[in-house]
Structure formats: C-alpha cells, structure tokens
C-alpha cells in the first residue's frame, strides 16, 4: 500500500474505533446526563436544556412527594460489603494459594482437588441451601449474611497458586534463611512480586461483589441494610415516576467503580493477559 492509502485506512480505522467506543460509553453518558436534567425533560429529551443537581438533592435530602429511601446509606452498605469481601478474598487467596503452591504437606492434593471440584460445581444448586444455612445461623437480614459467604474465592486461590508456582524457589529459600516467617514471605515477597496480577484480581473481585444482585436480594430485607444495587432494583416499579433521582442513584452505583478502574487501567491492559489467556 502507498503511504497515502495507508494513512487513509488508518483514519477510517480510528473513525470506526471511536464510533464503537461512543456506543460503548453511551449508556453511561445517558445515565449521567439524565441525572442532571430537569425532571420534565428526563427520558423526553436526549440533551437537556439545562443541567442541575436537583435529582441528587432529592436523592440525598428527600423531596416532599415521597419518603426518600436511604440511598446514601445503601451506597455505604455496598462499599462496606464490597471492600470487606474483596480484601478478604485477595488476602485469603494469597495465603492459601501460597500454602498450596509452595509448601508441601499431607492433604495438599485433597484440598487442591476440593477447590477444583468447587470451582466447577454449579453454584445455582447451592443457592437455596446456602440461604437456609444463613437462616439457621441466625444471620438472615444482617450484614454478615452478605459478607461471610463471600470471604473466600476459589478463583483467587487458584490464580494465586498458579502465579506463585512460577516464582523461583530460591527467592523463598533465601528469605527463610534470613529468618522470615511464612506470612512475611507471603506479603513482603510473594504478593509484591505478583503486583500486576493482584491489581487485576482486586478489580475483578471488587467489581463482581459491587454488582451482586440475587444473593443480596435474598438474604437482606431491611432497607437500611440493603445494597444500592438491591435498593435500585426494588425501586424500578413503584418509583418509576422519579426517573431523575433513579438515574442519579445509577450514577452513584456506576461511576465510583468506573473511576477505580480508570485509575488502575494502566496496569490493567498489561496484566489482564496474564489472567485471561485462551
């Protein structure tokens, strides 16, 4: 191809890529713009005539027409549950992954097999008995019911074990010579070596917990403890008229995670191929 034709085809490619990108972010843009629109224009006009924080005020302070639901509190609930669960999943993933990949002890194979079995076992069958168990334990309608079952991720263990296996044994041996304990080896040597994949694990695990719906819908009834995702899902029907505030709640639900992701996106592209390869 001549230089000119090549330039033209690159320009066409960028045009296409940008058009597709616009399509991908359109729903986010729509959500944001409608949350700032005057209420008369929500879902009636694509680009509103004025922008304001009216919907957010209603959401946080409450309007005259209806009792406001505890939106801000729901946001806090989501953040609390997602943060606790994600931290625990990463820490437990590193510790157990280390035990299974570096240490040798009797029963290690059995545990590895159990993990594989659990990973491939259809979780849907466990939904109802897990709920019954939560009830029996007296945890129904508590924060713990959302947190406890999620503290350990077999996926995180599996991924860490795979990654740690590729770290040379000498690194660990020399740390042991220096008198480092196992936990110090894990968190001061192994996890820093796995920095890139750890970022990816954080992102995937956090995102997964942040948007959970079915489980949280089942185990928590009290609006003060509901996550934002559940609260928003239950608002679809009766509060349909208050589209503006619902969009504002959607923004509160969606944009923090976009922000977290964009902050780490530099590492994301380089690391993600280590995590998902065909």
């Amino acid at each position: 191809m001549s230089g000119r034709a090549k330039n033209l085809s690159f320009m066409a490619l960028y045009l296409l890529a940008t058009a597709v990108l616009a399509l991908m972010v359109l729903p986010y843009f729509y959500m944001l713009i409608q949350s700032l629109a005057p209420w008369r224009e929500v879902d009636r006009v694509f680009l509103p005539s004025a922008l304001g924080l009216h919907s957010y005020q209603w959401l946080l302070a409450g309007g005259t027409a209806a009792l406001p639901r505890p939106w801000l509190r729901a946001w806090g609930n989501t953040a609390l549950v997602a943060t606790t669960v994600t931290l625990s999943r990463v820490v437990v993933g590193a510790v157990v992954g280390y035990a299974l990949s570096v240490l040798s002890f009797r029963g290690r194979r059995a545990i590895q097999n159990l993990i594989l079995f659990q990973m491939f076992y259809p979780g849907i069958i466990l939904l109802i008995p897990a709920f019954l168990l939560i009830r029996v334990m007296g945890l129904y309608d508590t924060y713990l019911s959302m947190i406890l079952p999620g503290l350990v991720s077999t996926w995180a263990i599996f991924m860490y074990a795979n990654f740690f296996r590729s770290i040379p044994k000498e690194v660990i041996e020399s740390a042991r010579m220096d008198g480092a304990g196992e936990l110090r080896i894990i968190f001061q040597i192994m996890v820093p070596l796995a920095r890139t994949v750890t970022t990816i694990f954080f992102l995937f695990l956090f995102m997964e917990r942040w948007v959970e719906l079915l489980w949280d819908l089942i185990v928590v009834r009290d609006p003060m403890k509901q996550t934002l995702n559940v609260l928003l899902a239950t608002m679809f029907g009766p509060y349909g008229g208050y589209a503006g505030p619902l969009y504002a709640a959607g923004v509160l639900l969606t944009f923090p995670i976009l922000l977290v992701f964009l902050l780490f996106s530099r590492r994301f592209v380089s690391g993600v191929s280590l995590v998902i390869s065909p």
């Binding site: 948007v211 679809f236 959607g250 530099r266």
Partner: protein, 292 residues
C-alpha cells in the same frame, strides 16, 4: 520438624477449608436431601415427596419456558458476542497507537451493574423517549420493545452482548498477539491478500480463543437473571423467563424450597449437557479442520 511442617500447611490453608465446609460442603449435602421434600420454609412438617418435585418441574410450563428461552437467548447472544468481541479485538490489534486506551474503553461496559443499565434501557425505550419519537418520525411507528416477546428477547440479548464483548475481546486480543508476524509476511510474499491472510492464518490460529469465548458465552446464558428481573419480570407471556428467575420465584416468592432446589438441579444438568454437546461439536469440527 515434620509435624510442624504439616501443621503450618494446614494452618495457612485453613481459611479455605473452613469456608468450604460451611458454604460449600454443608449446602451441598443439604441440597441432596432438600429436593425430596415439599417445604415452605416455615412449617415444622416437611412431607417427603420422593421424586415428586422433579416430576412436577419436568412437567411445568414455566420450566419449559425457562429451558427454551435459554436457547433463544443463546441463538442471539453467542453469535452476536463472538462477532462483536472478535471485531473489537481486530480493531484494537490494528490500531497503530492508543491501543490501550481503546481496549480499556471497550472494557468499560463490563463494569456496569445490570440494574443501572436496565434503568437506562428502560428510559431509552420508554414510549415517548427521543429514540422512539425519532423512529415514529421516520417509520411512522415504533416497536413496543419490552412488551413485545421477540423484541424483549432481542433487547436483553443486546444488553448482555454490550456488557461482555469488551471482556471477550481481551481473550481474542491475547490470541491475536500470540500469532507470529512472520506468518503474515511469508503469506504476503506468496501473494496472499489481507482477506486470505485473515481466513487462512488469523482464524485458524484464533481457534483456542474462539473455543474459550464460546464455552464462556454458552455457560453465561444459563445464568441470566438481573436484566429480565428488573426490565420484564420474565414477560411478556414468559418470553424472557429464565432458569434463575424461576428458581428465585419458586424458592423466595412462593417459598417452595424443595421444588426450587429441584429446578436448580435441572438448570445445572441442562447447563452441563449443553456445554458438553457444544464442546463436542466444536472440538470435532476443529479436529476435522486441523485446528488444535
């Protein structure tokens, strides 16, 4: 010391072991007995019904809807998401600059909560939305979208395609980057044009990525919940009813724990068998074509 080594291993692995015992093995055992009883979650008596729950589920038209709808979603979602994600991967691969920026941008939909996006879709498709007004101006009328059985299925499939194509594109992209450049150079020397190169080099060598995405996408169809839950409730006339909606409805709205668990077993069996069949078909097709 030997026993110290053993103890250390078990101690470090114990968080997993405890959680697996509590939230995997006990529910697993419980689910095995639960399915043989009729229980409303409250009553002290739990009549034993043997295979009654399975027989009822097998005959239930609600379950039939969930079963067949899964394949309807699959028929739209799987080809759609394969084409979309491969397309995105090819775009990113061929961009000379800003590859990362576009890859990250394409991935953003994966971060969306289905509930929040459901809100947007409901708004975009509401009767007097700007989009529908536009359609009415051009065509004289607009579909009733979520109230129409076919359109509702299409809309929900498109939502899921939108969400997952950027994610699957990363798998294709990893596959594309694994193809040696020399192959294309050699092919170009032999006079192969871009289209022939794509057909003879890119597609065959992308087979592992294609296979991974296919299995992921097929499995996904059996777990659809959020989108129909918030948008259609499984309607209209059960057109978007899914396995998970049915399990949720039976167990947590009608409080039929045993029956819901039996439906869940059917869901798992249907998932397992479908993936097995599709894998078998694709593997034998791949073997015949000489892919790996």
């Amino acid at each position: 010391m030997r026993w110290q080594k053993e103890l250390r291993g078990w101690l470090l692995a114990s968080p997993y072991f405890l959680s697996a015992l509590l939230f995997f093995l006990i529910p697993l055992g419980w689910s095995l007995s639960l399915v043989f009883f009729e229980w409303n979650l409250i009553a002290p008596v739990r009549p034993f019904v043997g295979l009654g729950n399975f027989i009822e589920a097998f005959k239930s038209t609600r379950v039939h809807h969930a079963f067949f709808n899964t394949y309807k979603f699959m028929a739209i979602f799987v080809p759609g998401v394969l084409a979309a994600s491969l397309g995105l991967a090819l775009i990113v691969q061929h961009l000379p600059r800003l590859k990362h920026l576009y890859a990250v941008g394409f991935f953003l939909p994966y971060l969306a909560s289905g509930v929040a996006i459901g809100l947007v879709v409901r708004g975009l498709l509401s009767y007097d939305s700007p989009f529908n007004e536009f359609l009415r101006k051009i065509f004289g009328e607009a579909p009733r979208w979520l109230r129409d059985p076919v359109w509702a299925t299409v809309v929900i499939s498109l939502m899921i395609i939108w969400k997952f194509s950027g994610y699957y594109a990363l798998i294709f992209l990893a596959g594309l980057q694994g193809i040696p450049r020399e192959l294309y150079e050699a092919a170009a020397l032999d006079g192969a044009g871009p289209f022939t190169q794509f057909r003879k080099i890119t597609l065959p060598l992308l087979y592992p990525a294609f296979y991974t995405v296919l299995v992921l996408a097929v499995g996904l169809c059996f777990g659809i919940f959020t989108e129909p839950y918030v948008l259609t409730g499984g309607g209209p006339r059960f057109a978007t009813h899914t396995w998970q909606l049915e399990i949720y409805y039976q167990a947590f709205e009608r409080f039929r724990a045993g029956y819901g668990a039996a439906v869940a077993v059917f869901n798992a069996v249907a998932t397992f068998l479908s993936i097995l069949v599709i894998r078998g078909v694709v593997e034998s097709w791949g073997a015949r074509k000489g892919f790996r």
